[in-house]
C-alpha cells in the first residue's frame, strides 16, 4: 500500500494521554509513552494524565533487573524535559502538562515525593474539568 498523508500544517490540538494501568504487568504504560513522544514532533498540546494504577508508572526507584524486562521509567524524564523545553522556547506554542489525580495517589499511599518527575496534583473535580477540554483522547 502506498503512503497516505493528511495535511496537518498549523493545526494544534489538545491531546490527552490517559494512563490507568500499572507498569510491567502489562505493556500499555510503555507503548503509550512512545505515542506521547511522537506528538512532540507535531508540536501538539499534551495532557499526560496518571489516574488509578497509572500513578504507579512514575514511581521512583524502579529496578527491573530481576524480572529481566526493559526499565522504561527513564522515559518519563525525557517527557519532563520536552515539557520544559516547550515552556522555555518562545517560538513554540505547544503546552504540555503532567497531571496526577490526588484521589488515586492517596488511595495508594503515595505522595508527590514518590514520583520521579514533577507533577501537577489535581483533585478529581479539577481533573474532570481538564479532561472535558481535550480534543483527542488516547487511552493506553
Amino acid at each position: 500500500m502506498s503512503e497516505v498523508e493528511f495535511d496537518t500544517a498549523g493545526v494544534v490540538k489538545n491531546f490527552m494521554y490517559v494512563n490507568r494501568k500499572a507498569p510491567y504487568g502489562t505493556i500499555y504504560a510503555l507503548e503509550v509513552l512512545e505515542a506521547v513522544l511522537i506528538s512532540a514532533a507535531f508540536e501538539q498540546n499534551a495532557a499526560i494524565v496518571f489516574v488509578d494504577d497509572g500513578v504507579y508508572q512514575i514511581k521512583k526507584d524502579q529496578d527491573t533487573t530481576a524480572i529481566n524486562m526493559k526499565n522504561f521509567s527513564p522515559t518519563y524524564g525525557i517527557i519532563e524535559m520536552e515539557k520544559e523545553d516547550a515552556e522555555e522556547d518562545e517560538d513554540m506554542d505547544m503546552v504540555w502538562r503532567i497531571i496526577v489525580e490526588k484521589e488515586s495517589m492517596e488511595a495508594r499511599g503515595l505522595t508527590p515525593d514518590d514520583f520521579k518527575v514533577e507533577v501537577e496534583v489535581l483533585s478529581s473535580d479539577e481533573l474532570a474539568k481538564v479532561m472535558a477540554e481535550q480534543e483527542v483522547v488516547i487511552s493506553g
Partner: protein
C-alpha cells in the same frame, strides 16, 4: 465529550473512574462487558442509577443480545442504541474518552 466503558463493573474499576472523572451532563455509553452495568437488580444498580441522574446513559443493544440480557432487565432511564447510534453519539458529543 462522551465517555465509553467496556468493562464489567463487577470485575474492574473502569466505571467508577469514569463516573468520578466525567463532568455532569456528559453522556456515558456502556458497551461490550460494560453492558452488565445497565441491568437492574444487581449490587451495582444503585450506583449506576445514581450516575444516570447526572449523565445521559446509553447501552449497546448488540452487546446486550449477545449476552442474553432481555430489554426488560435494563434499568429505566438508560437508552439502548446500536452501532449506528454509537456513531451518532460520537458525532454529537465531540471527543471520545474510552475508559479501557
Amino acid at each position: 465529550m462522551i465517555h465509553t466503558v467496556n468493562k464489567s463493573p463487577f470485575e474492574r474499576n473502569s466505571l467508577d473512574s469514569c463516573i468520578r472523572l466525567s463532568e455532569k451532563g456528559s453522556p456515558i455509553l456502556l458497551l461490550e462487558d460494560g453492558v452488565y452495568a445497565a441491568t437492574s437488580g444487581t449490587n451495582v444498580s444503585d450506583k449506576v442509577s445514581d450516575a444516570a441522574k447526572d449523565h445521559p446513559m446509553y447501552v449497546m443493544g448488540p452487546d446486550l443480545e449477545a449476552r442474553g440480557i432481555a430489554s426488560d432487565k435494563i434499568m429505566d432511564g438508560i437508552t439502548v442504541v446500536d452501532y449506528g447510534g454509537f456513531v451518532d453519539l460520537v458525532v454529537e458529543h465531540g471527543a471520545v474518552n474510552s475508559w479501557l
